[in-house]
């Protein structure tokens, strides 16, 4: 019999098991990382028809988010501003700048600017902006430091896990209503105290405002 099976075959079952475990771990790890929104969505930064720098408008000039995204407090959707909103300023400021040619064309012709959508949820998810921004959730929680972005990119995964993390424990993500659009705001500049102070603030808000951390399927899926 020893002629048929050489000695190394004794180790074969063990090697196969080890290999299978390694491959299995690699595949599981790979899929978990590469096939989930953390990888597939985060960092998505398409080229837009107009190179609109949020950093200049918000951080340098101090525009409020709601000057342009004026539907965010009323609608499920935070609207992309109409060309006429851009032209409110840009018929005075940089009125001949070649970078704004597309905007001027749109204003003149009435044809919309074709922005590329970055943040997109599946059709079966009903996310409502107004209920979040009116109840202590800042833009920065889902969109990241958009006030410092030169070109907007997808900063957070916006996966169901991402939503649930906050819905299960909202305390770390809540802030006073007057700080909602102040994306750089932190409860304290001292990183050592931040966590405890934010938790205390969040708990206070949850209690005072009766913040419901709804986790029913029906909260988002209808």
């Amino acid at each position: 019999m020893s002629d048929i099976f050489p000695k190394w075959t004794n180790r074969l079952p063990r090697n196969i098991i080890i290999c299978a475990l390694l491959v299995g771990t690699a595949v599981t790890g790979g899929v978990t990382y590469y096939f989930t929104p953390k990888y597939t969505r985060v960092g998505y930064e398409p080229i837009q028809p107009v190179a609109f720098p949020h950093s200049v408008h918000v951080t340098q000039l101090g525009l409020d988010c709601r000057y342009c995204h004026n539907g965010v407090e009323k609608s499920w959707y935070s609207n992309i501003p109409a060309t006429s909103v851009c032209m409110n300023c840009h018929n005075q400021v940089l009125k001949d700048d070649p970078r704004l040619a597309v905007v001027r064309d749109s204003a003149a012709s009435g044809r919309p600017i074709e922005w590329v959508q970055i943040h997109k949820l599946p059709d079966y998810v009903y996310f409502n902006h107004s209920v979040h921004v009116n109840r202590g959730v800042s833009c920065v929680e889902c969109h990241g430091p958009i006030n410092h972005m030169d070109e907007v990119y997808h900063a957070k995964p916006l996966s169901m896990t991402f939503c649930l993390n906050c819905h299960r424990a909202p305390a770390m993500h809540l802030r006073p209503l007057d700080k909602i659009t102040d994306l750089d705001w932190v409860v304290t500049d001292n990183p050592r105290d931040w966590a405890s102070q934010q938790l205390a603030l969040g708990q206070g808000i949850i209690n005072d405002w009766h913040v419901q951390s709804l986790q029913n399927c029906s909260t988002c899926h209808r």
């Binding site: 009323k74 609207n79 501003p81 919309p112 959508q117 009903y126 109840r135 029913n216 399927c217 899926h221």
Partner: protein
């Protein structure tokens, strides 16, 4: 195949209810059919492509999809913001506009929801003085008609397309050539529009010689014509059914098919409502030949053939009217009805005993003379100004269609202007309308569809111009509701296909400037509602002009008119027999006279009584069907029930249709619904039913006698009927009592139940018990069976709100219809003359839901507020939940109904082509696109409610209690609360939403609300003693409860029978002996159906 349920532990209690004749006869085949969850073949792929092939093909498709690599990249999607921001508009926030839907000589006041500029949902206007926000099914479905891809989409002259401007130029030229109007004729539909009346007046001034004709195939206006004769002045009756204690309907289906039915339902239900045992309720007597909704709601029902209606009426009049000179004539008329004296005399006595609070009604099928007799009875009963009011109305001196036909035949009409209507399809057959119409030199026709009246290559006038009509949701205009209040019609969307309104055509033709419908309606309003811009703004905002209801006429009844009327009435020559059948033409409850024939929601809505979908049928009573040898049979070949296809002949004209055996119909009577069998219609209406207009002649508009019926031996046609679908397996789900029994024992419904099972403690605690402590609201619903009349408006409202697809006739035949709420119609009593009752059935939102425990993927679960919710994206389609649901309210998407044409559901993408392109290739190019033809795809998406997911193939769905409305209300409360904690929805704040079915219900039978709030309407309703839970013994703890039905029969009537009312199982056994061994099937009632409720 599902597990056959063990015999139901609940014994047969009280009356036995049955839903179909097959159930009564209880054949083994029927039992087998019923015991399947879906009928044979429903859950299988019976396509020529076998299952095995299908799997092969699908694997190939997936492979191709992978190669196409469309799945690997995120598709780039664009956002197109406005270039210029519109005012008062926020993207994503729905807007609501008040408008109205015109209907013959009335209108329904509406509030229409608009999402991003497209109307998506029609609701009644609750602010209107004569409305509670209820509507009917046709109104609810009108929004689908707006997006009908088969609409007339452009003007055509002699079949060739023409621009809108050129078409209107031509209309103007015809007006200019007309001179004083000699040779110019107008054929209009009835209308209540003050603007149209004004234009008509001004055109009459411009064209004094022009002639005006009005035609309605089903003329519901006969009551007004008769009243105007009776009072010698133009008056219109307005019925106050809530004030009446005794109502007698003489072939008047005021709940189903008369003008302003939803208004009648509202008032009738109000008069029937009970809150405590001391409340009184009205009593309804119905004399009819068909089984109608009014008959379903009647306490006493007399079925007589149509030729006997007038004799019964005369007999009733003899008993009601004071003796006068018409007595002898009435006696002659009433002769044949003497046999019914036992019924008529106590009925008349009841009317007289309640003088001043009683009301007699006559239906639209009866001639004006009969209506006059009824007015005389109401006068004698003191009903006038108590239960019926006569309001001032407009005079209408327009000619009839027959007069127009003779003018055309005499060559007196050069130019014929047809505004609306479809006479080529629905004119009386003897007028030979298509040929008659072609005798005019010029025909200008405004129509919503290119249909039978449109240009026909075979027979047409020299010049035939077809103009596309604008939908009322695209039009400016005005109308009057039943009480005379002026309502605004304002557009929610620009005409999708350049539609033109009737007002515009009249104005252009008459050279009236400005000719825009807006300016015309605005100008009319100046004269009736005020000149100021504010008045107009308020009119459009409210949707109606306050205090514009028609004033009381206060006219004197003319006794001479009665004598003339009685002279006109004729007694029947002979009673009908099976060789000489009486025939009744009736307005269909869904497609009306054929105008909604291409509306899928209405076609698929089961008729409230017959439960027929997608068809009309030749209705026969069981006895007549048996006598003629055409009683429903079972085909042993394909295990299908089949109904006989018969030829109905009347005066030499024959149509072929399917027999539907309708319990409760008068014997020797044939009932045929109008509005089906269209030759030129859209994709939906094509092939539905047969055309009963072919039998109808000018002298037999509604009733005919001497019809013959022969079996055609054609066995190819099958009806799709839902009456046996979702069977409740004979379990007693209906509880009802007579009024005196209710007064003696108000809690009868709670006692009518079996002894509860001994195991009450569940094995595991219900997670809802803990989670509901955190929730702010607990939702529940109460449905009052005493108010519900079974009109089915809720079904279409739900379909519209929740994006419920239509599935087509073939799928309905396989029990795959998708309605989230259904109306179950049960019969009780003998097959020939049963009583009936309607019960809305929807997801009961059980607290211990059987569906949830069997879902392997947790796709159905409870939320904290007690709703049983479906998560579509989790569902994998095992259908276990539907198998385990005792209420049978879960619906499965067997196909992608939203993306596939209904006649191509089974077709594989490997062989299918759309617009000449191979389907698979098309799919690879754009996987988001459906397989629907382009026009249908573009239009059908517009009607969808964006707040509800559109479900795809393989997903289970069911009633969510309008979760989207609850969520919107909750979000609105939170947005308003901001940093305060006041986020609970309360009725006191008015923040509790209404479900779509509740909103649409004209009877206010459905109440939804917060059951944790003791002050809420639903809590109070559930606190009533009539409350019961369906299938309570299963311990599912349903959140939807019912209020038991109470009938109010008259003990003196011959058909009075005290309901056998054993309250508990023990009582029942003592009274009736042990329940039958086979308690699971209502069919066991077969041996004793004779002793049912009657």
């Amino acid at each position: 195949m599902k597990t056959i349920p063990p015999p139901c532990p609940e014994p047969e209690i009280g009356p036995k209810y049955w839903r179909s004749l097959e159930q009564v006869s209880d054949t083994p085949q029927f039992r087998q059919w019923l015991e399947r969850e879906f009928p044979a073949g429903a859950s299988e792929l019976t396509d020529p492509v076998s299952r095995r092939n299908f799997v092969k093909i699908m694997s190939a498709s997936f492979l191709l999809a992978g190669l196409g690599a469309t799945g690997c990249r995120r598709p780039v999607e664009k956002i197109y913001p406005f270039a210029k921001m519109p005012e008062n508009y926020t993207y994503g926030v729905a807007q609501y506009f008040a408008t109205a839907m015109p209907s013959r000589r009335g209108a329904t006041p509406l509030v229409v929801k608009s999402n991003e500029g497209r109307p998506t949902k029609i609701e009644g206007n609750p602010d209107h003085p004569d409305s509670n926000g209820g509507t009917d099914a046709m109104t609810q479905a009108a929004v689908l008609g707006l997006y009908d891809p088969d609409r007339a989409m452009r003007a055509t002259r002699n079949g060739f397309g023409e621009s809108r401007a050129a078409a209107l130029d031509y209309v103007q030229a015809v007006g200019k050539e007309a001179g004083d109007g000699t040779g110019l004729a107008f054929l209009l539909e009835q209308s209540s529009s003050p603007s149209r009346e004004r234009l008509q007046q001004s055109l009459m001034g411009k064209f004094p010689a022009a002639r005006w004709y009005v035609y309605e195939p089903v003329d519901l206006d006969v009551g007004r014509q008769a009243a105007s004769l009776a009072y010698n002045s133009p008056v219109e009756p307005y019925y106050k059914l809530d004030e009446a204690r005794v109502i007698v309907s003489l072939d008047c289906d005021f709940i189903g098919s008369e003008q302003n039915a939803h208004g009648h339902i509202r008032r009738f239900a109000k008069g029937r409502a009970l809150e405590t045992k001391d409340d009184s309720m009205s009593r309804l007597y119905a004399v009819e030949s068909l089984f109608t909704l009014t008959g379903l709601n009647a306490d006493h029902r007399l079925r007589v053939p149509p030729s006997m209606i007038v004799p019964v009426m005369a007999r009733l009049a003899l008993n009601v009217l004071k003796s006068s000179d018409v007595d002898q004539k009435l006696r002659d008329l009433a002769g044949p009805a003497e046999a019914h004296d036992a019924w008529i005399v106590p009925c008349a006595a009841d009317l007289k005993a309640n003088a001043g609070k009683s009301l007699v009604l006559a239906g639209y099928r009866l001639p004006p003379a009969a209506h006059l007799l009824v007015i005389a009875m109401n006068e004698a009963l003191g009903a006038v100004n108590q239960t019926v009011e006569f309001h001032q109305a407009q005079v209408s001196k327009d000619g009839t269609l027959a007069e127009l036909a003779s003018a055309l035949n005499a060559g007196e009409v050069r130019a014929l202007v047809i505004l609306g209507g479809n006479p080529a399809y629905n004119a009386p057959a003897d007028l030979n309308w298509p040929q008659t119409q072609a005798k005019a030199k010029t025909v200008i026709r405004l129509g919503y569809y290119l249909d039978e009246t449109s240009w026909d290559p075979a027979v047409h006038a020299d010049t035939h111009l077809d103009l596309p009509m604008a939908h009322f949701l695209e039009s400016w205009g005005d109308a009057r509701t039943a009480d005379g209040t002026i309502v605004a019609i304002q557009p929610l969307i620009d005409p999708l296909f350049g539609g033109i309104t009737e007002l515009e055509v009249l104005a252009v033709l008459g050279g009236i400037a400005p000719s825009s419908a807006y300016e015309i309606a605005r100008e009319t309003f100046r004269s009736v509602g005020g000149k100021g811009e504010d008045d107009w703004g308020k009119f459009l905002h409210d949707g109606f002009l306050a205090d514009s209801a028609a004033p009381l006429a206060n006219a004197q009844f003319d006794g001479a008119a009665l004598a003339r009327a009685v002279d006109e009435l004729r007694a029947p020559a002979a009673a009908p027999s099976k060789e000489h059948l009486d025939l009744v033409f009736y307005r269909d409850s869904k497609v009306d006279d054929g105008r909604y024939n291409n509306n899928g929601w209405l076609q698929e809505l089961p008729d409230p009584i017959t439960k027929l979908t997608w068809d009309n049928a030749v209705l026969l009573s069981p006895a007549t069907a048996k006598a003629l040898g055409v009683f429903t049979e079972r085909n042993s070949q394909n295990q299908k029930f089949f109904d006989f296809t018969v030829d109905v002949t009347l005066n030499g004209r024959t149509v072929r249709g399917q027999v539907w055996v309708q319990p409760g119909m008068a014997d020797n009577t044939v009932g045929v619904a109008l509005g089906y069998g269209r030759e030129k219609t859209g994709r939906v209406g094509a092939g539905a039913g047969f055309n009963a207009y072919k039998l109808r002649t000018s002298d037999n508009m509604y009733y005919a006698s001497g019809a013959a019926l022969v079996d055609s031996h054609d066995k190819s046609y099958e009806l799709a009927v839902t009456q046996s679908h979702w069977s409740m397996e004979g379990r007693p789900v209906i509880r009802e009592a007579n009024l005196d029994q209710y007064r003696k024992n108000p809690a009868f419904a709670q006692q009518m139940r079996p002894e509860q099972p001994s195991v009450v403690e569940p094995l595991y605690p219900n997670p809802l018990d803990t989670t509901k402590a955190n929730a702010l609201n607990q939702w529940g619903m109460s449905i009052d069976l005493n108010r519900c009349v079974g009109c089915s408006a809720c079904m279409v409202a739900c379909q519209s709100e929740n994006n419920v697809p239509i599935v087509g006739k073939e799928m309905v035949g396989k029990s795959r219809e998708m309605h989230w709420i259904r109306i179950d119609r049960y019969y009780a009593g003998p097959v020939d003359d049963p009583q009936a009752v309607a019960q809305p059935m929807l997801c009961q939102h059980c607290e211990a839901a059987p569906c949830e425990s069997v879902c392997p993927v947790n796709a159905t679960s409870h939320d904290d507020e007690g709703l049983n919710v479906m998560t579509y994206n989790r569902c994998v389609g095992t259908r276990y939940c539907s198998n385990n649901c005792p209420y049978k309210v879960r619906r499965f998407n067997f196909f992608d109904y939203n993306r596939r044409p209904l006649n191509h559901l089974y077709q594989s993408p490997l062989v299918m082509e759309t617009h000449g392109e191979w389907e698979l290739l098309r799919w690879l190019k754009n996987p988001d696109k459906g397989n629907l033809p382009e026009d249908q795809w573009q239009l059908s998406r517009l009607v969808k409610n964006p707040d509800v997911s559109v479900r795809m193939r393989g997903v289970m769905e069911k009633c969510s209690l309008c979760l989207q409305r609850i969520e919107q209300a909750r979000i609105a409360a939170k947005v308003k609360a901001r940093d305060s904690g006041h986020i609970r929805l309360t009725e006191a704040d008015g923040t509790v939403p209404k479900t779509a079915c509740q909103q649409a219900c004209p009877a206010e039978a459905i109440i939804f609300g917060d059951i944790s709030d003791p002050e809420s309407r639903v809590s109070k309703a559930k606190g009533q003693e009539r409350t019961y839970k369906v299938l309570e013994f299963l311990l599912t703890k349903p959140r939807c409860t019912y209020l038991a039905r109470v009938r109010n029969p008259n003990p003196l009537m011959p058909d009075y029978k005290e309901n056998p009312m054993p309250y508990t199982e023990r009582d029942y056994i003592n009274a009736e002996g042990a329940p039958s061994a086979n308690g699971s099937e209502g069919g066991s009632g077969a041996q004793d159906t004779g002793k049912g409720t009657l």
